[in-house]
Symmetry: C2
Subunit: 125 residues, 2 copies
DNA sequence: AATAGAATTAGAACAATTCTAAAATTGGTG
DNA sequence: CACCAATTTTAGAATTGTTCTAATTCTATT
C-alpha cells in the first residue's frame, strides 16, 4: 500500500457520499497537490481488484466508489442521487429462489428522492 | 413510432442477449444499411424515456438494452456476461424491509459463469 | 406545392477512462 | 552506501461510449 493508495482508501471509506474518480482526485489533491489523475484511476482499479473498495454503476453516470461492507442502495430515478440502505444479507434467500450459488448481489431500490418528488408535484405530474 | 424506432424496439425485444448500442446499430444496418449511429442513440434514448425498453448498466461496460418486462439478472463477475433470471416480484418485501415506497428495483446476482469457473479451476485458483 | 414540425444525418465535441513510455520512487542485496 | 530490479507515478495522447449541432430530409397538413 503506497501513500496514495492509503489516502484514497481513506477518502472512499470516510466519505459516505459515493464519490466519482474526479471528486476523489480533487479530495486527494488537498493533501497531495501534485498527484496525477492517472494515479487515482490506477489506485482505484487496484483497490477494486483487491476488493478493498466497491464500484457503483448507474446508467449514464460515471462510476462511483464506495466502502466495501455489504449494504444496498437507494437510487433516485430522476436525479441519480445515491443513498445507503441496508436490508440485511439476502444471499441465502436469493440463492434459494434462483436455485444456484452466487458470490454476492447488487440491489438497488429505485425511488424518487424528496427533492425530485416535490419538483414533480409542483409541475402537477 | 417511426420505422427506425419500431425496428429498434423489435431488435431489443426479440434478442434476449442484452445488446449494446453498437450491436443494435449493426443489427439495424442489416435492414437499413444507411442508418446513422446517432439515430440509434436518439431512438434508444427516446424508447428508454417512454419506458418501452430497459437499460442495464454494469461497471466499466457500455450500457446494454433489454426488454422491459420485470426480471432480474445474473452477472458474471469475471467476464460481465449477462443472463436473465426471474425471482418474481419482490417489491412488497423490499418496501417492507426498507420502510419506504419504491418505484421499482434492480437486482443483479453476481456469480461465475461456467466458462469463467472452468478457467479459474484450470489455473488452480 | 407550400409549410411547419419532427426525425435523421455526418461529423464534431465531450466526458470518462485507459494506455504509453518515460521518470521517479522503493526495497532489497552485495 | 551503491546498485539493480520492480513498482509506482506522471503527463499527455489515445480510445471509447455517448451527446450535441446544424444542416438536411421526411411527413403530414393545408
Amino acid at each position: 500500500m503506497t501513500k496514495y493508495a492509503t489516502k484514497i482508501l481513506e477518502i472512499v471509506e470516510s466519505s459516505h457520499s459515493h464519490m466519482t474518480a474526479d471528486q476523489i482526485f480533487d479530495a486527494l489533491r488537498r493533501t497531495y497537490p501534485t498527484v496525477a489523475l492517472a494515479t487515482v484511476y490506477n489506485n482505484l482499479n487496484r483497490l477494486w481488484q483487491e476488493e478493498k473498495i466497491h464500484k457503483v454503476s448507474v446508467e449514464g453516470m460515471p462510476d462511483r466508489y464506495d466502502r466495501v461492507e455489504r449494504h444496498d442502495h437507494l437510487v433516485c430515478k430522476k436525479c441519480g442521487r445515491l443513498l445507503d440502505v441496508d436490508l440485511g444479507d439476502l444471499t441465502a434467500q436469493l440463492e434459494r429462489a434462483a436455485g444456484l450459488s452466487i458470490l454476492s448481489y447488487d440491489l438497488k431500490l429505485i425511488y424518487l428522492c424528496d427533492e425530485c418528488r416535490s419538483d414533480t408535484e409542483q409541475k402537477g405530474m
